[in-house]
């Protein structure tokens, strides 16, 4: 059976070059970078090289990069740490309604700690309006966190405009760029932001490693208490192999961004066009143009996502429904609901995320196997039965 992996938004495979870069650190170069001996030196130097590589990916200074263990940790650290560092100034934070749960639930935790939270709505494309952010800024607002792009619907947000508004009001601005960094160009200076989260496994680097960039001069309270690693800002023995892999992945992403983007955009454009024309009652979710290069998302009417995934999987096709990280949760995606979709429609979400290895033949295959899957589930669906009766009756 053909196997087609189209779930790169959930996690990407390691590039061979990344794995090669990591291997020595799973072997004889196993030292702890905090240690004052030659094993420690080798680890520390490799880690600092990686810090440079990651910094260059986002046009930052190396010393502004703090390594973490995931995008989730970067977001927890940023939202909690930046807010807590300023709690004497005020206790109001602003995030969008479609943030990843690692931002949203961190903000909810801040609420438990006495902060107030404003959620910025989005339009039907999942787009945040900078004006809405402006309206929600108050004297006591200390943090705005709006994601760079949404991993579920692919929409890229107007970060530069929002950052400008935050800056005018003197409010610290963080962006969750986990879905963007390494995939589309990011320049933190050009964007005018204060903090940014990224994660290795989104761009052919390893799992178990992320980074938080915090602009020099911006205060943050450590999230992980303990030793003095990462300049005292993030405790715990550093995951050297993964950090080295992240560095290599960053270097490769920067070097090959243009050609990758071209390849991915071609594939996703084809699917965005052909799928709704081949299968009836399918809507594209997210912004038609301002979206991640490899990202094609839909809602299929009258049927539910998990059942589609399972049948597609039985045909060798790996995709996801709702948010990758929450696809085992019960409820309809908060992102799609925030975009105004009905619950029934939101249940039928389907996300194809292309990777470097995908080809146009993969799309042929998906289009071939998806139609009967949809058909089969619709034949089982009481919602579809009602619809056909009504439209016949109507």
């Amino acid at each position: 059976m053909r196997k087609v992996y189209l779930d790169n938004a959930a996690t990407t495979p390691l590039l061979p070059e990344v794995r090669e870069a990591m291997l020595p650190f799973l072997g004889e170069d196993f030292g702890n970078p905090s240690c004052l001996h030659s094993w420690g030196d080798v680890a520390r130097e490799a880690m600092e090289d990686a810090r440079n590589q990651v910094a260059q990916l986002i046009a930052a200074d190396a010393e502004e990069i703090i390594f973490t263990a995931s995008g989730t940790e970067s977001n927890n650290f940023a939202v909690k740490g930046l807010a807590l560092a300023q709690q004497n100034k005020g206790k109001h934070v602003v995030v969008s309604a479609i943030e990843h749960f690692s931002v949203l639930h961190s903000a909810k935790t801040l609420e438990k700690w006495g902060f107030e939270l404003s959620l910025i709505p989005v339009d039907k494309y999942g787009m945040v309006s900078p004006d809405d952010v402006r309206k929600n800024l108050r004297k006591d607002t200390v943090l705005v966190s709006i994601m760079h792009a949404n991993g579920e619907v692919g929409t890229i947000e107007p970060i530069k405009e929002i950052a400008k508004i935050a800056k005018e009001k003197g409010v610290v601005f963080h962006t969750d760029a986990v879905a963007v960094a390494g995939t589309a160009p990011v320049d933190v200076k050009e964007l005018g932001i204060d903090a940014l989260s990224l994660a290795g496994n989104q761009f052919y680097g390893p799992k178990g490693v992320g980074a938080l960039w915090v602009r020099k001069g911006v205060r943050i309270i450590p999230f992980l208490d303990g030793g003095v690693q990462e300049g005292g800002r993030r405790a715990g023995t550093e995951n050297v192999p993964a950090i080295v892999g992240l560095g290599k992945a960053a270097e490769l992403a920067k070097a090959n961004m243009a050609s990758r983007t071209e390849h991915l955009t071609r594939l996703r454009n084809r699917l965005l066009t052909e799928l709704p024309s081949k299968i009836k009652h399918v809507v594209v979710t997210g912004h038609p143009q301002d979206r991640l290069p490899g990202h094609a998302s839909f809602c299929v009417e009258f049927i539910e996502g998990e059942a589609m995934l399972m049948l597609l999987n039985s045909q060798g096709v790996a995709v996801t429904s709702g948010s990758a990280c929450t696809s085992r949760a019960l409820k309809a995606s908060h992102v799609l609901i925030a975009m105004g979709l009905s619950h029934a429609l939101a249940q039928g979400s389907l996300l194809f995320s292309f990777g470097l290895d995908n080809t146009s033949q993969d799309i042929d295959y998906v289009l071939e196997v998806l139609a009967p899957v949809v058909d089969r589930l619709r034949q089982m669906s009481p919602l579809y039965a009602k619809f056909t009766k009504t439209s016949k009756g109507g």
Binding site: I303, E304, M310, M380, S381, P382, L383
Partner: protein
């Protein structure tokens, strides 16, 4: 897919008794798209027994497998016996369900019950007339 037992997968991939019954003796509809799953059961009763059971289901893999299993368990049983099919029994027949999918087995048993009650109500109503 190890989140689901083989039995669940087998019923999901080859669900029994999918469809509607024309002129059913009872219909039971439970759930709605907001909660994520929706099931409609149709029954045909003869001599106080479930002569036929069919269903339509909108929902996840577990919801479809549960519907199939409930229909299979119910078919041929007396109404009394069928009313006693518990969510637990359905989950057990399916060799277990993930915790967060347990509500599906509730829905399945409920939908069947509702269809039987619908039949009994109609009969009572018919008896009165």
């Amino acid at each position: 897919m190890p989140v689901y037992s083989e039995k669940v997968m087998e019923h999901f991939m080859n669900p029994r008794n999918v469809g509607e019954i024309e002129n059913p003796d009872g219909v039971g509809e439970v759930g709605n798209p907001v909660c994520g799953d929706m099931m409609t059961f149709y029954i045909k009763v003869k001599d106080n027994r479930l002569e036929d059971v069919k269903f339509k289901t909108f929902g996840c893999g577990a919801a479809i497998a549960v519907s199939s299993m409930v229909s299979e368990m119910a078919k041929g049983k007396t109404l009394d016996e069928a009313m006693k099919i518990t969510p637990r029994a359905v989950a057990d027949e399916l060799k277990g369900l993930p915790k967060q999918k347990f509500h599906c087995s509730n829905l399945g048993a409920q939908a069947l019950n509702k269809a039987i009650k619908d039949y009994l109500d109609k009969k009572k109503g018919g008896g009165k007339k």
